[in-house]
Amino acid sequence: MGKPSDLVQGTLDLLILKTISLEPKHGWAIAKRIQQISNEVLQVQQGSLYPALHRLEQKAWIKAKWADTETGRKAKFYSLTSTGRAQLGKEAANWSRLSAAINLVVETT
């Protein structure tokens, strides 16, 4: 099982921002979603998820709202702010550039 520290520094932020870019999600759903989309490769652990969420909230990239889930329980839903959306664009572009570069290096040798 891949540990969160295996993630490249800063990628967790990108994953979170991307995951909630379509609709607001609570922490659990964010972790599940990342797991599913990555075909169970990326496992985000609570130990890094929640500090990251709170850090992003303090930076005002995401905002939180308490709302009912489909099962009727109260949960804290995170969504992107306009700053966060801009940040997502920047981070995604960065990531593409970085991964393409790494691919180049890895495949050339």
Binding site: W28, Q46, G47, Y50, Q58, K59, R73, A75, T83
Partner: protein, 909 residues
């Protein structure tokens, strides 16, 4: 937008901590529940599902802490913990806390009290626009003519500077004087300031009510009966009457219109002299009856200020004003009053220079006078605070040893050294904060008492220096608090954080307690003894100065003697009427039961006043312009019998003297008639307005014993007395009454008598002559008593410090001493072994302190009377007192050491 959002979140996490933390719990619980639900869905039973979820979840506490970390208040949280812990540990040792707080409260309180006075007298800038641009314009060199003070110039000279200079954006001048103010049915004497019309505009001082005085209010001599009130006087005397503008008041019997009230906080330009009322310069003749001075070129009486144009420095301005000064001097040389001076004097006169002095703090006689005493007191107070810090450092070091285990445990379970140092520093800060709070209270109290004793409140109950601390004083106290906490807390904190963990935890503490630490503590104690000795020597010097001054006496008997002053000219009395009033009042007072004798003199004794005049004397060769001028006074026939001052040769005045006669004192006779019988010889008074009289015209009819004139400090100067009955001009008159009962019992009757003759004449400064002498010694008494208090505090601190260190040394050496005794050491051997250290520590301290005092004593030479700064008796007695106290303090632990029971001591460990 982003910032407000972020700020809002920060504030929520700070002030809504409980709620936010609860929400975090909810959020994590929700996550956990979801995981459990999923596990159940995957087929686990309830119990298994919970455990699996918890396993996956990991350490919830760490998770929470890391999340909270993201909120960014972790440092604050830790400091809050430290503060809470600090409070708890201080509460746990109340004795330690009480001693430390009291020590600090005295140290910081004393310094704050002194700073409060010092700030107002010496440091604060005037509350005007750009005070740093203000300069005082003075004349230096051979200042021919009459002068009120070294920094004063004549009004015409001020005018010439004002109109001719290129360097000032504006100039103004002022003159302080007391006036009789009438409003309603009440007349009182208040301090006023005569000001040029440019005064308020150039200072940039505005009016709260009405308008300020302007140059248009200051054009025609005697033509502007208008006045401004100071804000505080308007509040206290006129109850903040908002309709005061346009109302009439009387000043010295003349009707004046109030045109405005100054801005709050502005009380004129002189620290120690609060101007209540401001009057245009052109009203000088009305304010100081019979003395105009607006036209006299060589009568220096105004203090002149200029505001430098931006970009012009003092040196540049001085250079630019010098040619102007030369032109003024050229004109003044042709004044008739300068014609009788020698060519040499006149040549010197032309070389006079202009000097600019910084004017940002105004001008103040009180400041000149109190400067040295205040700095001396500040230095003594600082030394006491230093001693207090040394004591506290000592206490903290001692405490550190008892807390060695605690610190070792903290370090062992992972506290960083910085965290330990921070914890201990927070404790020191807490102590010093409490000490400072108590100290501020003490300072306020001390200043109230001291200032009320030092200055007699004026008619509005106002003190010239306020005991109430302002923001600057609080800042000072805060700085003192931080600094002391660092000074006494840092070294012990660093030491503690270096604790050697392993041996301490293995319970071998105490056996090898750092030799370095003990050395540091001994060094501190020696330093304390040194400082305490210096303070004791200083205190003894000041106390003996006071005793010497009191012992020297004024030269006449002070028992049952009272004094008061009146000034009928302020109530519109012309000279002849005033003279008649004096005569009638004398007769009435003489008839009062209980009054033995009444004497009058124009100049009050022992109040720092003096009327000096150059003289020539029969058969005496000497230039009257060059020499120290004798002091003169106009007196009534019975003054000397009232003072019980013997006439040693010749006779006293009588009411029937018609020829020009004069009495002189012994000092006068010694100087001008050395070896001759002065009776029947003549002297002449040189009048500055006229040439020197060709023939001395005043016949000496008697010689009286010397008496102290201005104050008790200066030896009796040559003095001449003229009969007031022959004088023609009068302002105030001082009455002396020798009474049969205690003068206090007669004061009301005397006041009543004056009221009956004229209710509009206020009686000023009525007191016994002993009180008068007491007042003339207030500064000396203040310095002596404060330095004694400091000396006592310092000695106590040093002695307590010494005791502490010796007791500690003995405690740590118990085992060793036990072994010595077991091996046959005598009690006296042990006693001496410990006492030797006491003597060594005290001796080193005394030696250093003696040298320190020897080096510093010269700085206070000017403050002493009747003894030398290196007075051996003082040095030896202070040293003896301190060594006796130190040895007594050291003897207790030594005696305890000598009575150590070896069995007990050895079994103890």
């Amino acid at each position: 937008m982003l910032w407000t959002q972020r700020g809002w979140l920060k504030l929520q996490t700070l002030f809504g901590r409980e709620r936010v933390a609860q929400q975090l719990d909810d959020e994590l619980q929700f996550h956990l529940d979801q995981q459990i639900a999923e596990n159940v869905a995957a087929g686990m039973n309830e119990e298994e599902a919970r455990h699996a979820a918890m396993r996956l979840f990991g350490n919830a506490t760490i998770l929470k802490e890391e999340t909270r970390d993201a909120w960014g208040w972790i440092a604050l949280e830790q400091v809050t913990q430290d503060v809470r812990y600090g409070f708890r540990s201080l509460r746990k040792s109340p004795l330690f806390t009480a001693v430390a707080v009291l020590t600090l409260a005295f140290g910081i309180g004393a310094n704050t009290a002194i700073f409060n006075v010092m700030d107002q007298v010496l440091l604060q800038l005037l509350p005007v626009k750009h005070p740093e641009q203000l300069v005082l314009v003075a004349e230096r060199g051979m200042r021919l003519g009459d002068s009120w003070g070294d920094e004063d110039i004549s009004y015409p000279m001020y005018r010439d500077f004002r109109d001719g200079n290129q360097v000032f954006s504006g100039m103004f001048c002022r003159f302080p004087t007391s006036v009789g103010l009438g409003y309603g049915d009440h007349t009182e004497t208040v301090s006023a300031e005569l000001v040029s019309g440019s005064y308020f505009p150039v200072l940039g001082v505005t009016a709260t009510l009405g308008r300020i005085l302007t140059p248009d209010d200051d054009r025609v001599p005697g033509g502007h009966p208008v006045a401004m009130l100071s804000h505080s006087f308007w509040q206290s005397r006129f109850s903040s009457d908002s309709t005061i503008v346009g109302k009439q008041i009387t000043i010295n019997g003349y009707a004046f219109t109030v045109i405005g009230v100054s801005q709050p906080g502005f009380d004129g330009l002189e620290v120690g002299y609060k101007s209540k009322i401001f009057v245009p310069m052109m009203m000088k003749l009305q304010m100081t009856p019979r003395s105009d001075g607006l036209q006299q070129r060589r009568l220096s009486w105004v203090t002149a200020f200029g505001r430098l144009k931006p970009g012009i420095g003092m040196a540049q301005a001085t250079a630019s004003l010098q040619p102007l000064m030369h032109n003024i001097l050229q004109v003044e040389l042709h004044e008739p009053t300068l014609q009788h001076y020698s060519d040499y004097d006149r040549a010197q006169f032309l070389r006079n220079s202009v000097e600019l002095l910084p004017g940002a703090r105004g001008w103040s006689g009180l400041r000149l006078y109190l400067q040295t005493p205040l700095w001396v007191l500040a230095a003594l107070g600082g030394a006491v605070l230093l001693l207090a810090c040394a004591n506290l450092a000592n206490l903290f070091l001692a405490r550190a040893t008892t807390r060695e285990r605690e610190m070792a445990v903290r370090l062992a379970i992972g506290a960083g050294r910085r965290r330990v140092i921070r914890l201990l520093l927070v404790e020191s800060l807490l102590l010093s904060a409490i000490g400072t709070a108590v100290g501020l209270g003490l300072a306020l109290l001390a200043d109230r008492v001291l200032l009320a004793a030092y200055f007699s409140p004026d008619s509005t109950g106002d003190l010239p220096i306020s005991p109430v601390p302002d923001a600057r004083v609080f800042v000072f106290a805060l700085a003192a608090m931080l600094l002391t906490a660092l000074v006494f807390g840092l070294a012990p904190a660093i030491q503690s954080s270096k604790a050697d963990i392993a041996p301490t935890l293995k319970d071998r503490a105490g056996s090898g307690a750092g030799g370095k630490q003990v050395f540091l503590r001994k060094l501190l104690v020696s330093g304390q003894v040194a400082l305490a000795l210096s303070l004791l020597i200083g205190a003894t010097l000041f106390l003996r100065t006071l005793a010497n001054l009191q012992g020297s006496g004024p030269g006449f008997s002070t028992e049952h003697l009272m004094v008061f002053r009146i000034d009928p000219s302020l109530s519109g009395y012309a000279d002849a009427r005033a003279k008649d009033f004096f005569r009638r009042l004398t007769d009435e007072l003489q008839a009062l039961p209980g009054v033995r004798s009444v004497g009058l003199s124009t100049m009050p004794l022992l109040q720092g006043y003096g009327w000096t005049n150059p003289v020539i004397a029969e058969g005496y060769a000497g230039d009257p312009g060059q020499e120290q001028r004798p002091i003169f006074d106009e007196i009534s026939p019975k003054l000397f019998s009232t003072l019980e001052l013997p006439v040693v040769a010749g006779r006293d005045f009588t009411p029937f003297d018609t020829r020009p006669v004069v009495l002189i004192n012994e000092a006068f006779a010694r100087k001008y008639f050395a070896g001759r019988n002065p009776l029947g010889l003549h002297i002449g008074m040189v009048d500055d307005r006229l040439a020197t009289p060709d023939v001395p015209n005043l016949e000496v009819i008697g010689v009286v014993k010397d008496l102290k004139y201005k104050n008790l400090r200066d030896p009796a100067p040559p003095q001449g007395y003229l009969p007031y009955l022959q004088a023609e001009r009068f302002r105030f008159m001082t009455f002396y009454l020798r009474t049969r009962p205690d003068p206090g019992q007669l004061m009301e009757a005397v006041r009543e008598q004056v009221r009956r003759l004229d209710p509009n004449i206020p009686v000023v400064d009525m007191r016994t002559i002993d009180q008068q002498i007491g007042l003339s010694l207030t500064t000396e008494r203040m310095v002596a008593s404060l330095s004694s208090v400091f000396g006592f505090l310092a000695t106590s601190l040093a002695v307590v410090g010494l005791y502490g260190v010796m007791a500690y040394t003995v405690a740590t050496r118990r085992r060793e001493i036990g072994i010595r005794v077991a091996l046959g050491a005598l009690q006296s051997d042990v006693l001496w072994m410990v006492m030797r250290q006491v003597v060594f520590l005290t001796g080193t301290g005394l030696a250093v302190g003696g040298l320190l005092a020897f080096a510093l004593a010269n700085l206070i030479r000017s403050q002493l009377y009747g003894l030398q700064p290196h007075d051996p008796f003082t040095f030896v007695s202070a040293g003896l007192v301190l060594s006796a106290a130190a040895c007594a303090a050291g003897f207790i632990p030594s005696w305890r050491a000598s009575h150590v029971d070896p069995m007990h001591a050895l079994r103890h460990e």
